[in-house]
């Protein structure tokens, strides 16, 4: 891509990433949440790949990392559910203190679940993007 595209991408990419994190962390208070925020976070990665391009080794490395993060996100989510089972004998029990409504640190396990979902969705969508933009490495595998 041209210099203009690269420069703009490097300026706004960070802001997109930050906005995604904002959407995730305020998932229990405002519209949005883990899924929407995860999509925005994945969008910032996609923007960087589109602007700066990639080669085979870079793609391989990115895909490896994305697949690990995807599994970690899902395990984190199901781990929260299992914690409820072990601590309170109910699957998905909200075992943390709920706090006051409309505060950032409230709603018990729900912000944690949102973070887990955002990791899963962000990494998953980014690896879908890499697979759809399939270059040599994927076709050979």
């Amino acid at each position: 891509m041209s210099l203009i595209v690269r420069k703009i991408a490097s300026i706004i990419g960070g802001f997109i990433f930050l906005y995604g994190i904002y959407i995730v962390l305020h998932g229990h208070l405002t519209p949005g949440g883990g899924f929407a925020g995860g999509v925005i976070i994945a969008g910032s990665f996609v923007l960087f790949v589109l602007a700066y391009g990639t080669d085979e080794s870079g793609e391989k490395k990115r895909f490896f990392i994305a697949s690990i993060f995807e599994s970690i996100g899902a395990l984190f989510f199901i781990g929260i559910a299992f914690f409820g089972l072990f601590l309170g004998s109910l699957f998905f029990l909200n075992f943390l203190p709920q706090g006051l409504p409309l505060k950032l640190l409230s709603a018990g396990t729900i912000p944690l679940s949102n973070i887990a979902i955002s990791i899963k969705v962000g990494a998953g969508l980014f690896s879908i993007f890499l697979a759809l933009a399939a270059t040599k490495y994927f076709l050979e595998e």
Partner: protein, 495 residues
């Protein structure tokens, strides 16, 4: 019971543990998948001890009370389905260990395998209609990927066709759920049952029932909607074919249909005869055409796939007759066919593993060298076509008894004739593949494959001789759950 969420949470956790841990050591994928299916098998049989006939176990997810939160409901009908799933999945995962040597991507296979297990288990025990849709989608999407697993041309084509048909069915299911939610303002199946039985039956009620019937007819591959199955099931790797044909179509199609139509909509043959006549008609057409087309196939697995269409037809006829023994026969056939058909598909996998061929004209004389495979196939044939001591005999007997009790004597005679058909097309494989004097030197299949086939053969004989115990502890309570109708809603919400 605290163990209820484990049925779908264990395979889900396994699905996401496998990709991480197998980066450390590749053997973890086999180890995790097989240990989880073993735990599920023990858990499913153990769960029968935890509640009596007529009781329901209700599990409130996250502690939310029923109409608000998602509930998991475990009664004998769910137990029957869960046990069938656990048996098939256990045998298929043992079989996969050596079978996957022909494929790359063992890790991806086991991840999808665990997801399809989680989806089916979730469908069987959920008490929330939108949750049901989510689990249907988890299972369906993993099955599309598993059908395309070999990434050859035919497999991708079959998977694409399967995906289009399956998603049309899922879309109509979602549409029906949206209409129901608009009507009753609730997604809990028990609450829906109560609301619908109070609200009475108007045009919208029948419209939703018709959409659901259409959607589940595609999912269970009844005759006019069957076109995806004969391509999709043979294309998958053999253990997956065993799951898809053995249990998948029954959980997503038959179980979901009967649970919703009997327990949520409260349909009975007395108050809605047209609905049940449609089921009998679709079932009978499936038995007839599935059998005829199966007898003309040249491909080992494709023949078995058409046979699945015919056998699902038997189940549907049993449900459609709608009296006690016919439904008991239909439910028993879910279990019996799950064991038998997955065994048949595993033998096809063993033959493909040993020879690399599926065409019946090219295969010959394997009966001597592959003794266990051949005897498994012969016994499964006898069971499926209804030879008395084996498990496949009783379901068909009960369905025919039910037809006689409903004074449908022509149907009873027709079913008896059509079940002979089953023997005819299954014998074709015995004659072509196993029963020739030509000497072929093919080595016997590996130990793990023989183990999983033997496991199913033993169950087939055990359930056949011990059918009385099985009937009393599982089939009859499950039939009573269905015949209880919308009493399901009152049992859960206690009103």
């Amino acid at each position: 019971m605290n163990l209820l969420p484990l049925f779908f949470a264990l395979p889900l956790a396994g699905a996401f543990l496998i990709p991480i841990l197998s980066k450390i050591w590749r053997g973890f994928s086999d180890l995790i998948a097989n240990s989880i299916t073993t735990i599920l098998l023990f858990l499913s049989f153990y769960s029968l001890n935890l509640f009596e006939e007529g009781e329901v176990i209700i599990y409130k997810m996250g502690g939310w009370p029923p109409p608000l939160g998602i509930t998991m409901v475990y009664d004998h009908l769910s137990a029957l389905i869960v046990i069938s799933i656990a048996i098939v999945v256990f045998a298929a995962s043992i079989f996969s260990i050596r079978y996957l040597e022909h494929f790359t991507g063992r890790v991806k296979f086991y991840t999808l395998f665990m997801l399809i297990t989680a989806g089916m288990m979730g469908v069987a025990i959920t008490g929330d209609i939108f949750n049901l849709f989510v689990f249907v989608e988890i299972a369906s999407i993993s099955s599309y990927a598993l059908v395309a697993f070999g990434i050859e041309k035919e497999e991708l084509e079959a998977a694409f066709k399967y995906m289009v048909m399956g998603e049309i069915a899922s879309l109509f299911l979602l549409f029906a759920i949206a209409l129901l939610y608009g009507r009753a303002s609730t997604l809990n199946m028990a609450d829906l049952a109560n609301t619908l039985s109070v609200a009475g039956r108007d045009q919208l009620f029948w419209f939703v029932a018709a959409i659901l019937l259409f959607s589940f007819a595609i999912k269970s591959a009844l005759f006019p909607f069957h076109s995806w199955l004969p391509d999709a099931h043979p294309s998958a790797p053999a253990p997956v074919s065993a799951i898809l044909s053995g249990i998948f179509v029954k959980v997503l199609g038959v179980y979901a249909l009967i649970r919703l139509s009997f327990n949520v909509f409260g349909l009975t043959p007395q108050n809605s005869p047209i609905f049940f006549h449609i089921l009998i008609f679709l079932g009978l057409v499936s038995v007839f055409f599935g059998g005829i087309i199966a007898s003309r196939q040249r491909d080992y697995k494709r023949l078995l796939a058409y046979s699945t269409i015919a056998q699902i037809g038997f189940i549907m006829v049993g449900i459609g007759i709608g009296n006690f023994w016919a439904i008991a026969g239909g439910l028993f056939h879910i279990l019996a066919h799950a064991i038998t058909k997955s065994l048949l598909f595993l033998t096809s996998g063993a033959v493909v593993y040993a020879t690399g061929k599926r065409d019946l004209e090219e295969l010959a004389g394997l009966g001597k060298t592959m003794g266990i495979t051949a005897w498994s196939y012969r016994l499964a044939t006898l069971s499926l076509s209804g030879l008395p001591p084996l498990v496949g005999f009783f379901p068909k007997l009960f369905i025919i008894i039910g037809a006689c009790q409903a004074k449908l004597y022509w149907l009873a005679i027709l079913l008896a004739i059509l079940s002979v058909f089953t023997l005819a097309y299954l014998l074709k494989i015995i004659r072509k593949v196993y029963f020739t004097t030509k000497e072929v030197s093919t080595p016997e299949t590996p130990f793990s494959m023989r183990l999983s086939m033997l496991f199913l053969v033993i169950l087939m004989i055990l359930f056949g001789f011990g059918f009385q115990g099985l009937l009393n502890s599982l089939i009859i309570p499950a039939t009573k759950v269905l015949l209880n109708g919308t009493g399901y809603g009152r049992a859960i919400l206690g009103g």
